[in-house]
Amino acid sequence: MVDIIIKNGFVIDPLNNVKGELMDVGIRNEKIVDPSEVRDPGSIVIDAGGRLVLAGGIDIHSHIAGPKVNIGRLMRPEDHYLTNIPSKLPFRRAMTGRTVPNVFAIGYKYALMGYTLVAEPACTPLKMRHAHDELNAIPIIDKMVFVLVDSNWLALDLMSEKQKDMLKTYLAWLLYSTKAYALKLVDPGSDAAWMMGRPSLDLNDQVPGYNLTPRDIIQLTGEANEALNLPHSIHVHCNRLGFPGNYITTLNTMKLGKDFALRNRNSIHITHVQFTGYGGDSWATLESGGEAIANELNVNPYVTLDLGQVTFGEATTMTADAPFEFVLYHLTRWKWASADVENETASGIVPYRYRKRSYVNTVQWAIGLEVLLLSKDLWRVFITTDHPNAGVFTDYPKIYAWIMSRRYREETLKEVNQSALRRCVLPSIDRELTLYELAIITRSAPAKLLGLEKEKGHLGIGASADIAIYDIDPRAVDLSRDYERILKTFSRAWCVIKGGEIVVKDGEIVQTIYGRTYSVDPYTAIPDDLRREFEVYLKDRFRQYYTVSLNNFIIRGHEIKKLNEIRLKSWK
């Protein structure tokens, strides 16, 4: 690998407190080094000429791989018909698809926007091998996948039997044996109900067949997550998602974080909060709960949020929240796919289109932006579209423009449903984010949230050489006025370096390489006697609930193209 030096970059790097300075960045062997170390005459010199240099972007929640995504591709051929980009061999493979793109379009388009790490936020354990097959096939970016645990009979058994140590051990084993990175809860407990043909649950409802409530499930999983010292907190998709009035449930879920926090950091991540930020009591009276959620976020240090921002246009909703998708199918009456997985969870997929003139869609759009713009601590709020649920990830530049330019917001406010705006505070918000703040919410904070701030999300010495250079000199442009520039600049990076290799040049993909998959292994650290007891227990239950053999369920390290397994040491 040839050394690289980036000269004269306008660097913004919040983790290292660099707020915009002309600097050089040196790269050797996939890492960032002191620029003075790069002296070899054979090194590549990139003259950034004052262009903006950021660490590679990180997306903490985007459905890019696994069974749901592939069923989405299957049932939406119309999504691919008009979105073809022919291959440019041997540099680039063919791309297709918009809301459910093929693996190449995913990897390339993220790289073109300057993103270098993306988390697939939900896969059921039994189909995790499928998720890894797809992650293996996605070029360029680093990736990770979260494992679904909230409706898992094995976990629910242990919870209702109050076997806390065994529960921790099981969750640790699950992360290890599926090569996943974090624990995901989706509409906690509701799939356990759905699998038996029952309606979804609110926080204090009883899970059918168990003496448990979704509140217990969140509490117990959160405790285990903190005790296992996992790098990410529990990642929660709240109960009642998609129903008017659900922001109360969300506020109550956010408050739970305090009860199981063990570490000096946030303990609960509430995902795509837009979908669970609805006031009102019906679709007709729907109103934004964005302000209430932002207020809770501002006083509750245990919580982090991501938006699930609506960007208008075509979407494919896909979630493990199977009961909600069944409801949505009845609202749209077009196509509906669902898949239930033994012992574990279920899922649903429904195509959807967000329209500016729609009352409901406008409220949804406003909620996301309100939450972000009213948040005081930008280290705890993240941009996502819950791709492809509320919008596609390629729309991120639009979100940047909405939050950085009041002028662009006003343009959009003119086009959306006006009566909906009366139920939202968005029109009265003046705040505009700076580039430095954008760097926080798209780079530094996500790295920290995932516990990867040592190597990701910054440009300090020793960090991974994942770098995006954008064709803009921030000293010369006023982005607040010139929002077109935001849309253009962040859609196509000028140059992207991934793992020390140049992958994007002048907004074009120049080579196809493959990144790493991050996973955690909290299991090895668990005391031997507890593991032995657990394995005996597991063997027996596993045979009862599953139609696969335990041995064939476990995913081995060699099945993953480039595995970066983080072995955790402590156990409380």
Binding site: N84, K335, A337, E342
Partner: protein, 576 residues
């Protein structure tokens, strides 16, 4: 005037077993598939003694006749294979799926002997077929027992087999069904072990080294304008991914065997979605199971002991489950059923529509729909909407004839609507052990599950145009790479005829009929026995199949062969 009948083709245990154990050139296979099952009354009326001549618009064939009272009068059942395919219809009606069921045929008694395979191949335009089966040498070594072996035969991928070996010789297999047992036990027989190239003048195979064979194959693919890559359901996902890359490089077409099995199901899912489950959901929760147009007792034999019989978390075994079978004949599965509903061939669509009407409490005016009395339909709908958890398993009976993809749209809609009353799901009974995986891999790489072409550099799927049978019927492709599949045995006659006109590269561990007519024949290791890889069960659960023994000397796995082929084609196309 000979009497008019309807022909149904399909799998039987003996067809599968003899094919896996003895190979398609064997007497056993001929006896198993050159055979028509007919109702004894029909046999008597026609005065058939041993053999009958069966004629369709596409050809005629003489087969043995076996009276079987499970076959209703007016129906002829012939197991899938070259004999049946003399009669099947290649027209896909824009669906990619030829008509392999419900074909109008005439039957007459004859004293002629059953048509020999050679005569059928001649009919297909095969000038010369070679067959040099070799047994792979088996190093005898110490005794080993391997547990949790996933079976590389059907879509069930039973992963609870125990295989005992002495060195490379398999001595005992536990928990496998007869077909899986036959495949694994006989993995060393009927093997292609040396690469071969067909002599251009006399048509004999010449043994060559792998490098030569790969060079010739690369040349064919690199010079072809529109090559077809077909098969892929009997290999691992890793190999399928490489095959897609090869199609992209050569700007050809890639298609898998879905095109001939659940292609119409996939098309229906594209239109309306699906309501799927994994097998364990049925095992743990289903109190009502419908088998519609599928016959797991012959094709997915362990399905019954995995899903129907066992005690699950919420259902205490077979006694708490209601089993309903809907089929055109009283299949082996039908004999296990609590309720058997005999539907007229090709009329499933009408029956689904009637069920949907009944579900909405509409009156059905006709006293009979698709041969089923109206009262029976009301009764069936009542059972369905009062079930706690229902599942419909369905098979080729719905895809290979009648309304094809429209059947599937109806059954999916029926299940979607049933969910307003109760919990209902469905699951296609997929055939090959990795046909599901080939759909998945093609989906994530191209956005489409089968029949994908790259002529303009990007993927595109148009059923009825970019699907294999149509491409062959329209003579659009100019070379073929067949990976782990036997189209000569399983395509309708006219499609095989056109395939014969193309240069053919065949990658296969075994001597199939297609291997016998290859221009370049490259042996490969048997996935799941000699090669590791990922495969997808019929319910989309991915499993790693095992390497139990090393491949034979100088024989590579599909993944290695395809990687080498890709780098050679790239070089020729100046893409390296």
């Amino acid at each position: 005037m000979p009497l008019k009948f309807r022909l149904i083709t399909g799998r039987t245990i003996e067809q599968g077993r003899s094919m896996e154990a003895e190979g398609k050139f064997s007497d056993g296979y001929r006896k198993a598939v050159a055979l028509a099952e007919m109702n004894p009354k029909d046999v008597e009326i026609l005065g058939i003694r041993n053999n009958a001549k069966i004629v369709s618009v596409y050809g005629s064939v003489v087969v043995g006749v076996k009276p079987n009272s499970d076959v209703p009068p007016g129906l002829v059942f012939i197991p899938m294979g070259p004999w049946a395919n003399v009669l099947t219809l290649p027209a896909t009606e824009g669906t990619g799926m030829p008509t392999l069921k419900n074909i109008d045929v005439h039957v007459e008694p004859t004293s002629e002997d059953p048509t020999p395979l050679s005569a059928i191949l001649e009919l297909y335009g095969v000038e010369k077929i070679s067959h040099r089966p070799t047994e792979r040498p088996l190093a005898i070594g110490s005794r080993r027992v391997v547990n949790d072996v996933p079976c590389p035969f059907c879509g069930e991928v039973c992963d609870f087999l125990t295989v005992e070996l002495e060195g490379e010789k398999i001595t005992r297999i536990l928990n496998a069904c007869p077909i899986g047992h036959a495949k694994i036990m006989n993995y060393h027989k009927h093997r292609v072990l040396t690469p071969m190239i067909k002599h251009e003048v006399n048509g004999d195979f010449i043994e060559v080294d792998l490098e030569q064979a790969l060079n010739r194959a690369a040349e064919i693919l690199a010079t072809a304008k529109y090559p077809l890559i077909y098969g892929l359901s009997n290999t691992c996902v890793e190999a399928i991914e490489l095959a897609v890359e090869l199609a992209e490089i050569t700007r050809g077409v890639i298609d898998n065997t879905t095109t001939l099995c659940h292609g119409p199901t996939v098309m229906a899912v594209q239109e309306v979605g699906a309501v799927k489950i994994t097998l364990g959901m049925a095992m743990n929760l289903a109190d009502t199971m419908v088998f519609w147009g599928c016959n797991p007792m012959s094709a997915h034999i362990n399905h019954i002991r995995r899903v129907v019989i066992p005690e699950g978390k919420f259902v205490k075994g077979r006694k708490e489950r209601k089993i309903i079978v809907v089929d055109v004949r009283r299949s082996e599965t039908a004999k296990l059923a609590d309720i058997f509903i005999q539907v007229e061939p090709g009329k499933d669509y009408e029956l689904f529509t009637a069920l949907r009407m009944a579900l909405r409490d509409y009156d059905i005016e006709a006293p009979n729909v698709a041969g089923v009395p109206r009262e029976k339909i009301y009764e069936l709908v009542d059972i369905m909407r009062t079930a706690r958890f229902g599942v419909i398993f369905f098979g080729m009976g719905l895809t290979q004839g009648g309304a094809k993809h429209k059947n599937l749209e109806e059954v999916i809609k029926l299940v979607q609507e049933l969910n307003e009353w109760s919990k209902w799901t469905l699951l296609p009974m997929r055939g090959h052990y990795n046909v599901t995986g080939s759909n998945h891999a093609m989906l994530w790489l191209t956005g489409y599950p089968y029949g994908v072409e790259f002529s303009r550099g990007f993927p595109k799927m148009i059923p009825g145009v970019t699907t294999t049978i149509d491409l062959l019927m329209n003579s659009e492709v100019d070379a073929a790479l067949i990976i782990a599949s036997d189209p000569v045995a399983h395509f309708p006659q006219k499609a095989v005829e056109n395939l014969m006109k193309l240069p053919k590269i065949v990658i296969d561990p075994f001597w199939s009929l297609t291997a016998g007519v290859a221009d370049v024949l490259i042996p490969s290791g048997v996935t799941g026995i000699e090669c590791e890889g990922t495969v997808y069960r019929l319910d989309d659960v991915a499993l790693k199949v095992k390497k139990l023994v090393d491949p034979p000397k100088d024989v590579l796995c599909d993944t290695d062969i395809l990687s080498r082929l890709i780098s050679k084609v790239k070089k020729l196309k100046r893409l390296a």
